[in-house]
């Protein structure tokens, strides 16, 4: 009964979405407020119906209703409750339901929170949101119904992939989808603005918080995924430039560019068409990302079994969304009024450079990710584009961006003073040079250490320049400390947010450079009692013992780690064998001192009692997680800025062109 309610609610949601996609648009263009006003209650109704469907599916998972095919295929009674719930989005159908639920939540938020929005803009934006809903609801109902029944119902389910039975991965897809779907808000605002024919500072102020929220979620989602891969896959890597990872990273790059270009629209009323285009592109890339992961067209280390038969529908959906919005853009963008004069050396100039590099990088990663598909289609042979390609292209594009990132915030709007900014950055330059020289000399003067020195130098540069900029803002050491603190307290939150986020990137870069350069590894076949040494740690393998978990059996190793005779940690890496589905997994054990990790994983035990023990020394990897946390925190602080929270001055909204709606 409950699955049928869920199915029915989805169908109702489709009809509501059709109404919401059409009536408010007509109302807004004819100035009929009653018709335009349909958008808000429709968005609320749509949320209610979609949430009902989501709740129904979750209920089926929690009570293990195996008469529902989706539950029978992906769940099992012996799973802990958390993973019964996470099971909802562990598969294609369920993840689409999660997708559409998040879309409905964003629609609801806009309907309820956007009080200071002009009614016509809100009606149009909600209508565009509903168009996306229509596409996805049709997709779910016609090709991927999660409520399909099985008759007779099996006695138990087939279980969920054990690799997904992990707290990090239980929350990774919802975070990622909050990010992907969050960009739909920027997209809908952009399409609404194109229909309306005007984009101004107020528009940018409305779009920014939604983009920022999406960006925070996407950042957290990517970091969670990377963290999960690091500690569960047992090979200690945190980024492989794998297609599935790139699928989430490309929208992040585009979203970061959008975040920055929206500032230019807000402050200088410029870069308008470009910002609209970025909003369209960021969401389109999110769509591509969603489907790349689920379609299985690319060989990926993270690939899960998938069903390519839905490909045609997906392609059609992508073609309509991306093609349609780009055609609209081509028709309407020229009508957008050009903005203020642009000086190359200025804050907006710096932001433009940011956009240039970020979009070039996004395009490069996209090209590398999709190239195997093109090559296959054009019969150029089967190829794969791996990490070396991305390292050879992405790093050289990011390095100049980081350099500019240190200077940009010190330039003023309209006309910046480059030599003045550089003078204020002398301390940062000295620190950078010192860091590069120290690292190069200390770490053995090899090619690898040159890379590390270069990467750490960039990190120090960005950190120091960000600190200088912050100190300048609060006039630290130029005024009494109390006055500086008062300035810090009255600074807009977005300024704090920027400093935090930029510092976070610096920390993450330091982590990447250190982890790449000074990674150490030793693989040994050890008998109980044997000792191996790595990076100054003595690792004593004490043997293995069997352990039982809730839905798996496990072989657990006892490993004592000491340093110069002092015990440091006892580590217990495991090899688990899950029962449903029958599948082995590796659980690594990590000792972290906050700056570097000692990472231990075990392999098979042979007949003679020797076990393969893999030990990695992973210096500075924790900095990656700190960096990601700081980036998100910076976004969050910026999101809490007054001008996003309180309605903010509505600004003068002037019709921008002759073609107004």
């Amino acid at each position: 009964m409950i699955p049928e309610i869920g199915h029915f609610a989805l169908i109702l949601a489709l009809f509501v979405a059709i109404v919401q996609a059409s009536v408010p648009l007509i109302g807004a263009s004819r100035g009929n407020t009653a018709w335009a006003g349909v958008a808000r209650p429709a968005a609320v109704a749509q949320f209610v119906f979609v949430a009902t469907a989501f709740g129904a599916l979750m209920h089926s998972y929690i009570v293990s209703d195996f008469s529902v095919k989706n539950v029978a295929d992906n769940s099992h009674t012996d799973k802990p409750l958390l993973y019964k719930i996470a099971g909802v989005w562990s598969n294609h159908e369920g993840s689409l339901i999660l997708w559409i639920t998040i879309l409905a939540v964003f629609g609801l938020a806009l309907a309820l929170a956007g009080r200071n929005l002009p009614p016509a803009l809100r009606a149009r934006t909600l209508a565009v949101q509903a168009m996306i809903s229509v596409g996805f609801l049709l997709f779910i109902l016609l090709t991927s119904n999660p409520f399909a029944r099985l008759d007779p119902a099996p006695l138990n389910g087939r279980g969920m992939n054990p690799l997904l039975q992990d707290p990090g991965l239980a929350f990774h897809p919802p975070m990622l989808y909050l990010g992907y779907v969050g960009f739909s808000m920027a997209f809908s605002f952009a399409i609404a603005a194109l229909i309306e024919g005007r984009v101004d500072a107020a528009w940018a102020r409305w779009v920014r918080p939604w983009t920022l929220a999406a960006w925070i979620f996407l950042t957290l989602g990517i970091a969670l995924g990377s963290w999960w891969a690091y500690y569960t896959l047992g090979w200690g890597g945190w980024w492989y430039w794998d297609p599935v990872e790139n699928a989430s990273f490309i929208p992040w790059l585009a979203g970061t560019a959008l975040l920055h270009s929206a500032i230019v629209v807000e402050k200088r009323d410029s870069l308008k068409a470009w910002t609209i285009l970025l909003a369209i592109v960021a969401f389109s890339l999110s769509l591509v990302g969603t489907f790349l992961v689920r379609s299985g067209v690319l060989t990926s280390v993270h690939a899960f079994a998938s069903d390519p038969t839905r490909g045609v529908f997906v392609l059609a959906l992508l073609a309509v969304t991306i093609g349609g919005s780009l055609i609209l853009f081509a028709m309407r963008a020229p009508a957008l009024q050009a903005g203020g004069v642009f000086a190359p050396v200025s804050r907006e100039g710096g932001l433009l450079v940011n956009n240039l590099f970020l979009s070039a990088a996004a395009a490069t990663v996209l090209l590398g990710t999709l190239y195997p598909l093109f090559a296959d289609a054009l019969d150029l042979g089967k190829v794969s584009v791996g990490a070396p390609f991305f390292n050879a292209t992405f790093v050289p594009m990011m390095a100049p961006l980081i350099v500019v990132m240190g200077v940009g915030p010190l330039l003023s709007w309209k006309r910046g003073d480059l030599s003045g900014a550089l003078q204020r950055l002398i301390a940062a330059m000295v620190a950078t040079a010192a860091a590069i020289a120290t690292v190069w000399l200390v770490s053995g003067r090899s090619v690898g250490s040159l890379e590390a020195a270069f990467g750490l130098g960039l990190a120090i540069w960005l950190l120091a320049a960000t600190a200088v900029e912050y100190a300048e803002r609060i006039r630290l050491f130029r005024e009494p400390l109390a006055a500086s603190l008062h300035r810090a307290a009255t600074l807009p939150r977005s300024a704090h947010g920027m400093s935090l986020a930029h510092a976070g990137l610096a920390v993450a870069i330091a982590g990447i450079a250190g982890a790449t350069a000074w990674d150490q590894e030793s693989v040994n076949s050890l008998r109980p009692g044997a000792v191996t040494t790595l990076a100054g740690y003595d690792i004593v393998f004490q043997g293995v013992e069997p352990v039982r978990g809730p839905n798996y059996t496990s072989v657990r190793a006892n490993i004592a780690v000491s340093r110069q005779g002092h015990a440091v940690a006892d580590l217990h890496p495991e090899r688990r064998q899950y029962a449903n589905p029958p599948m082995p997994t590796t659980t690594a054990a990590i000792y972290s001192n906050g700056v570097s990790d000692l990472y231990v994983a075990i392999g098979d035990t042979d007949g003679g009692g020797a076990t393969v023990v893999r030990v990695y020394f992973k210096p500075m990897v924790p900095l990656l997680w700190y960096g990601a946390a700081l980036l998100s925190l910076g976004g969050l602080v910026s999101l809490s800025d007054r001008r996003h929270r309180v309605g903010a001055p509505t600004g003068k909204r002037r019709p921008a062109s002759q073609t107004g709606a």
Partner: protein, 153 residues
């Protein structure tokens, strides 16, 4: 500078960045593209030793021999076999009779020296290249598996 000149300067800068990016991409492509071969291709196309490539197929039953941390096994597309040697820890889902992709280079004597054996997250997953390689050699049986899947438990 007039407004127009400024705009042209920006356009010029943009083009420059674009060209630089394109040059980077092209040079990276020539060095870093890794081609995929099935065991049959590997012999038919006379792949030179030392070039970085991927091979894929099924792990032949009974072929896995472990020597401490080094593993020897045979990848087959069911018509041709390629011996592979790999040092390191194999992914959890590596087992005989299953699809596998290995990256590395061809060593002396036709032995493939793998530096990386690709892990999968899901035992139902078959790398598309492997599926194609099996289809080409006429040994593809994947659709049969699917039929079983629908029966449930």
């Amino acid at each position: 500078m007039t407004r127009k000149q400024r705009r042209m300067a920006f356009v010029g800068l943009g083009m420059l960045a674009l060209f630089a990016a394109a040059a980077l991409v092209l040079s990276a492509f020539t060095d870093n593209l890794v081609f995929f071969y099935s065991p049959t291709d590997l012999i038919a196309k006379h792949v030179p030793e030392g070039r970085r490539l991927r091979i894929g197929g099924l792990v032949e039953k009974g072929s896995v021999v472990k020597e401490g941390t080094t593993v020897h096994f045979v990848i087959t597309d069911l018509t041709t076999q390629t011996p592979v040697s790999f040092t390191g820890l194999l992914p959890d889902l590596f087992r005989e009779g299953q699809g596998v992709v290995a990256e590395g280079k061809l060593g002396p004597g036709g032995v493939f020296l793998a530096s990386n054996v690709l892990a999968k997250h899901d035992e139902k997953y078959m790398p598309p290249e492997v599926a194609d390689a099996l289809k080409k050699s006429g040994q593809w049986q994947g659709d049969k598996d699917k039929g079983q899947g629908n029966k449930g438990k």
